[in-house]
Symmetry: C2
Subunit: 200 residues, 2 copies
């Protein structure tokens, strides 16, 4: 593609985005340079603004996109202060916020325990979590981690250290995902849905 060389940097950068392969990156690059509404410039501008404004909240560990520290979620007076939701990443906070189902505060672990990736307790923001329990007046911690084996191990570990600090600990419910049929549920999901059955 020597005749398209000046697009190569753009394609290479787009290819680094999650879920984007070479073909999609090429298609995007072409769409961007051919777009007549100035999409390339708009996207470049949005990237520079976001990059300029993004920071890290020293309290919850999430990204803060307005250079506020602590972030807007940590300082929002309308949110319950005693209720803390522990998540892996800032993206999880976005998901939960979009669900409008939680009105407390967050704490980002920065991953889960993973011997394979060499992630131990020291690599997670566990000390930061423990040290904010008392000053923040946390009464209940909801652990919102996934259901894979490593996340399970992380949940067990966190539950142990948190209950020893006299904090109420819960985790997200297991069960059938919304809109799914029994037919498509795997055995483990069904097993857990039965174990966690709810009285009507």
């Amino acid at each position: 593609m020597k005749h398209f060389l000046p697009l190569d940097d753009l394609i290479a950068a787009l290819e680094k985005l999650p879920g984007i392969g070479k073909r999609s990156a090429e298609r995007m690059a072409l769409a961007l340079v051919q777009n007549r509404d100035g999409l390339a410039r708009k996207l470049a501008h949005a990237l520079l603004v976001a990059d300029e404004q993004v920071g890290s909240c020293s309290r919850c560990g999430s990204i803060t996109v307005t250079k506020e520290n602590p972030c807007a979620l940590c300082t929002d007076g309308r949110r319950a202060t005693g209720l803390l939701c522990v998540v892996e990443s800032p993206g999880d906070i976005m998901k939960i916020e979009n669900s409008h189902s939680f009105q407390g505060r967050y704490h980002v672990l920065g991953g889960h325990l993973s011997p394979a990736l060499g992630k131990s307790v020291a690599d997670l923001r566990v000390n930061e979590l423990l040290s904010r329990l008392q000053p923040d007046g946390i009464e209940e911690v909801i652990i919102a981690l996934g259901t894979d084996v490593e996340s399970e191990a992380t949940v067990s570990y966190l539950a142990e250290v948190l209950t020893s600090r006299k904090v109420k600990v819960s985790r997200l419910a297991f069960g059938l995902p919304s809109g799914s049929a029994i037919e498509y549920a795997d055995a483990t999901t069904l097993q857990r849905a039965i174990q966690g059955r709810q009285a009507l």
Copy 2:
């Protein structure tokens, strides 16, 4: 997502990329602002460079990404001048160039005839095509359009006007795609592969 508002512009711009929905755009935005290798800045830079350098070739109608006019493909002395490949879009040129199977010149139509989209002959670069036949010494035109009904109609139309100008006209072969099994071929593809069978 009021707490992520400064990311909204970024997500909105990413959502306009081909094949990207809201979820992918959110995932990309988060990956971009959390990336530690400066991916956001690199992508922004590549976008601005590409946007700055991109132009349109007055001869073939393709994009020219170095502000040369005519473009590098049109002026490359090593390419056959009498052989012209007619495509819908610059992306098609990229595909054909990547296949290393064509060494002539290109002409971008800018779409195909489409009553539904209100695209008539006047909206395609047909006059530009006809007016370059003689000065460019075109002897053969390969029509590289798709196989949907509207593309077929466009091929028929082009074949008619081009043969009346005493130019040899061909189109891409129909047949089984590479690496596919008879089992997965649809009836029309099989029919055309049989009609176009090649002597061994």
